[in-house]
């Protein structure tokens, strides 16, 4: 039996109030349960997306690193270092927030990421095609990495929310509602007790009145 609420007077008013609260708690419990289930199904979808995104990003990065290695073998790592100093530019990452059932998840977009060969800013005389490949595959992998970041963060956020909702559902189901119900029962019993007491008292008074009359 759950423990009862403290500081509750056994009156009819309190009883009515408590009954109302139980009703509300029940309703809230049902709603939260639905929210939890919806979030979990959303979570499953995102997880699938995440696994896919992770795999694709990792594969692309592997190719990119391989291309970089080849370029480095051909050009030497000092040259690569120098070249990587001139290919820099401002990357315009568009950051937005989307709302999935009260959870804010990020949406990121990048435009004009993959450049044409002549836009990268290095000369062609001292470089080779492998360098172009490396730069291109890194640009492509940034796209995938950004996508991955977006999905991974969504997974985290939704998971967080699922946990929070779960905790609330459990608190309602195992603590709040049983406690309210126990208190209601306690009050009902207490009131019955009072009723019996007063009934007995009336009987007693009546008896003593009768006794006085006959005397």
């Amino acid at each position: 039996m759950a423990e009862i609420l403290q500081n509750v007077k056994p009156t009819r008013m309190e009883l009515l109030k408590l009954k109302k609260r139980v009703k509300l708690a029940d309703k809230g419990h049902k709603l939260l349960k639905e929210k939890r289930d919806a979030l979990i199904s959303e979570f499953m979808l995102v997880i699938k997306e995440y696994k896919d995104a992770r795999k694709r990003a990792e594969e692309k990065l592997k190719i990119a690193f391989y291309n970089l290695l080849l370029a480095e073998v051909l050009l030497g790592s000092r040259d690569i270092e120098q070249i990587s100093g001139i290919t820099l530019r401002d990357i315009d990452l568009n950051f937005m927030v989307k709302n999935i059932m009260g959870v804010s998840v990020p949406i990121m977009k990048i435009e004009n990421l993959v450049r044409r060969i002549n836009e990268r800013g290095y000369g062609f005389l001292s470089t080779n095609a492998k360098l172009d490949d490396a730069a291109k595959s890194f640009e492509e992998s940034i796209l995938l990495v950004v996508k991955l970041a977006e999905v991974e963060e969504s997974v985290r956020k939704i998971a967080e929310e699922v946990e929070k909702t779960k905790r609330r559902v459990n608190a309602l189901e195992y603590i709040v509602i049983p406690r309210l119900k126990a208190t209601i029962k306690h009050i009902e019993m207490r009131m019955e007790e009072i009723e019996r007491e007063s009934f007995l008292r009336l009987k007693k008074i009546k008896a003593s009145l009768e006794a006085r009359k006959t005397r």
Partner: protein, 107 residues
């Protein structure tokens, strides 16, 4: 908004070729400065911080600590594999998350 990268030499060269400006070579940062670097990144308008898995493993606790500087949803920290490919030994952090959330593991 920008992307930042903390990584080893290879990773940094690669991503610089693709044009990412804010790169931090891990060998250049002294261990005690990592905290400051992270803090600066969190305060700048950076949307995405990429960290190679090896480094992330090394400074894991600092990353968690830095998470407290985060305001709202930005920046997102993402671990990426370095030139050696993804770490196999590492347990996927998502795995535990899935188990806790759904209650069982999904293949």
């Amino acid at each position: 908004m920008e992307i930042a990268l903390i990584g080893d030499k290879h990773t940094i060269h690669g991503f610089r070729l693709a044009g990412i400006k804010k790169t931090f070579l891990i060998e250049d940062i002294r261990r005690e400065d990592i905290r400051g670097v992270l803090k600066d990144l969190f305060e700048d308008s950076i949307a995405l911080i990429l960290i190679t898995e090896k480094i992330a493993e090394e400074i894991g606790s600092l990353l968690e600590e830095a998470d407290r500087f985060r305001k709202g949803i930005m920046p997102i920290i993402l671990q990426i594999p370095d030139s050696g490919g993804p770490l196999i030994s590492k347990i996927d952090p998502m795995r535990g998350l899935i188990k806790r959330t759904v209650g069982f593991e999904i293949a």
